[in-house]
């Protein structure tokens, strides 16, 4: 059994159609009817950075700022070298890539925009968050398709376990726009529900140094399904579930609830994995938020922390139509 890490702050940005009451108190921010990302809660210097930034960065700064404030962490004056960042994103700078490439295609090399090109890296959001809050520890961005957010949370747990940081700001984010929606349709990716944009960011710390916590992440694992729509798919997810439970020091028998972010078309894969690992038991479902790519898994975790019985182990799952899968074991803390 490995170290369980404490969740000491949470922030989420969701669309107006999603139900913010399913998230932990004071964590949710809602995108405006005009599509604007809520930034009013941020310190002025951070808000100024966010206003100049591309959309994934805005989402991460908005959610990250809320999470850091909840954890009682202010923007530092000096670089905080023991504070790290792990961001998961399925598509990262896809929309910026499209904007930059359209001008290049239309106008030739003269149309290449330095401002846009500099943001055609998926780690732009992590970099802006690092600069805004002077977080100078490891800053990692990872993509594992739709499972990116849960994979990022798992890697953040490892940063803390390895002692490479005392605090890690971690979660998932993806922005939605016309070019990405068109591509998802062209690539025939089976998400099976309306697409949404969102960010969900948590502050994770080693227990023992924290004042209060929302809950703990006790175990995690990720895996892959070479043929996710195939008739026997599920072995990769079953492996991840078993490994996440072992990492948490639990038997799969002890799982009390499941928060599944798996796209509905991949339900057969998930069902086979759950039968193989939970031995036919059907733990109580926690309803997560769907269709938000890299943010979906972390939103599922936040919903579980808000809704699950305190102390009862919840299994959070996500599966990408491209094959990446992730499982995480967490529980909510009882109110102090």
């Amino acid at each position: 059994m490995s170290l369980a890490v404490a969740v000491t702050g949470a922030g989420a940005v969701i669309e107006g159609v999603q139900d913010s009451r399913r998230l932990p108190a004071d964590s949710a921010l809602v995108i405006g009817p005009d599509g604007s990302v809520p930034l009013g809660h941020l310190p002025e210097a951070v808000r100024a950075r966010a206003l100049r930034a591309e959309r994934v960065t805005q989402l991460v700064l908005a959610a990250g700022g809320r999470a850091l404030a909840a954890a009682g962490i202010d923007a530092a004056a000096a670089p905080e070298t023991r504070a790290g960042i792990v961001v998961g994103t399925a598509f990262g700078c896809f929309l910026t890539n499209a904007a930059y490439q359209r001008r290049l295609a239309a106008e030739g090399a003269a149309g290449a925009s330095p401002r846009l090109f500099a943001a055609t890296v998926s780690n732009a959001a992590a970099g802006e968050l690092a600069i805004a809050y002077r977080l100078a520890g490891p800053a990692v961005t990872v993509t594992a398709g739709g499972a990116s957010g849960l994979v990022a949370l798992g890697e953040a747990v490892e940063v803390l376990r390895a002692g490479r940081a005392d605090v890690v700001v971690a979660g998932g984010a993806d922005a939605l726009g016309r070019a990405l929606a068109d591509w998802v349709a062209a690539a025939e990716l089976a998400f099976g529900r309306p697409l949404a944009e969102a960010a969900a960011v948590l502050v994770l710390e080693r227990p023992g140094r924290v004042r209060s916590e929302l809950g703990r992440i006790a175990g995690h694992a990720s895996g892959f399904e070479p043929d996710p729509a195939g008739p026997t798919a599920g072995e990769g997810l079953a492996g991840a579930i078993a490994a996440a439970c072992a990492d948490a020091g639990l038997s799969p028998r002890e799982i009390a609830a499941v928060a599944s972010a798996t796209p509905p078309p991949l339900a057969p894969l998930e069902a086979r994995a759950l039968v193989a690992t939970l031995e036919g038991r059907r733990p109580r479902p926690v309803m997560p938020f769907g269709g938000a790519f890299g943010a979906t898994g972390p939103l599922g975790l936040l919903a579980a922390l808000a809704e699950a019985e305190p102390g009862a182990p919840v299994l959070v799952l996500d599966v990408c139509p491209s094959g990446q899968v992730a499982a995480l074991v967490a529980w909510a803390r009882e109110a102090a």
Partner: protein
Amino acid sequence: MITGCGVVSPLGTGLRPFWEGLVAGRSAVQPIAGFPADDLEPRAAAEVRDVPRTDPDRAGAFALEAATQALADAALDPASVDSRRLAVALGTTLGGMQLFERWLDGDAVDGVERVPYYAPAVRVARRFGCRGPVATPQLACASGTQAIALAADWVRTGRADVVLAGGADLLCRFVVAGFNCLRATAEEARPFDAARRGLVLGEGGAVVVVEEAGHAARRRARLRGSVLGVGAAADATHMTAPDREGRGAARAIEAALADADVMPARIGFVSAHGTGTPYNDAMEAVAITRVFGPRNVPVNSIKGAIGHTLGAAGAFEAILCLQVLAEGLVPPTVGLATLDAACAGLDLVYGEPRPHAANAAVSTSSGFAGVNAALVLGRAG
């Protein structure tokens, strides 16, 4: 443990042509021939010439070829590995960008699902039937270094027995026009030279087999070296310009040394990021001198030879380190003729290769958004 290496480089396909080209001090930089470049200025780059452009998912093709080579070099049949313990960590900064250019232009494109950054890793994982972790680090030009760090962490924490780890990136109009418009490029890369003007882009794929020590021992695998430590740190100062004091890069190297429990004095070679831009090289000179002291350890950069291969660069440079340790020879820094006084704290190898026996090496990478990552690599045996 690292038990296999695979290389698709502008100096040739395979570990041997790559290494022999580096030792001979050859440059693969030429005028761009693979796509229309008339309006691009500069228009020199290090292209992979022996892989045709017929596969529109060029980075994925590089990754697959390098991974296949690495498995062959490791004498490892992936079907003999428990599929749940077989993993892929592959960095890229462009992924399916050539497909994306055409799709956005309205062309009917086969394989449009291979556009995202995660696609090369997925392609490799499907080919070899992986069911373990499959992830794509996104640390801009440090992605290949972080991929090998992630692989080493997975093996160390018992999450995988065998990881195909490295990076792949391609040349296309998107990226060449982009670095040109930032005024970051030159016709020739001259790392650490007083007359350096900018970087030259390159492309390719580099993959290593990172294998759990017991797994490698049981099948009596030949060892190519080991990952002794990994580290990462953010500058937290500026999105595109490196911290002039090199504090983030120095912290990443120090973190990797601490992770390896190795003193700086035991490091016998440093592979610099060495892009050939005025700011990067000056920053690195400060960072490396800060960690190792002045002129204490031989340093080189291979970006004058194969260009800046972006998300693949750190993987190429990790393989370079293993070769330096195995062969006792440091290849020269192609493009360097007159050492910049601002980099005088570095013992740069240039002109001729230098015989030099060492047991451990450091590879360091930095990238956009202030990311820094470093590896400590050990000699086999």
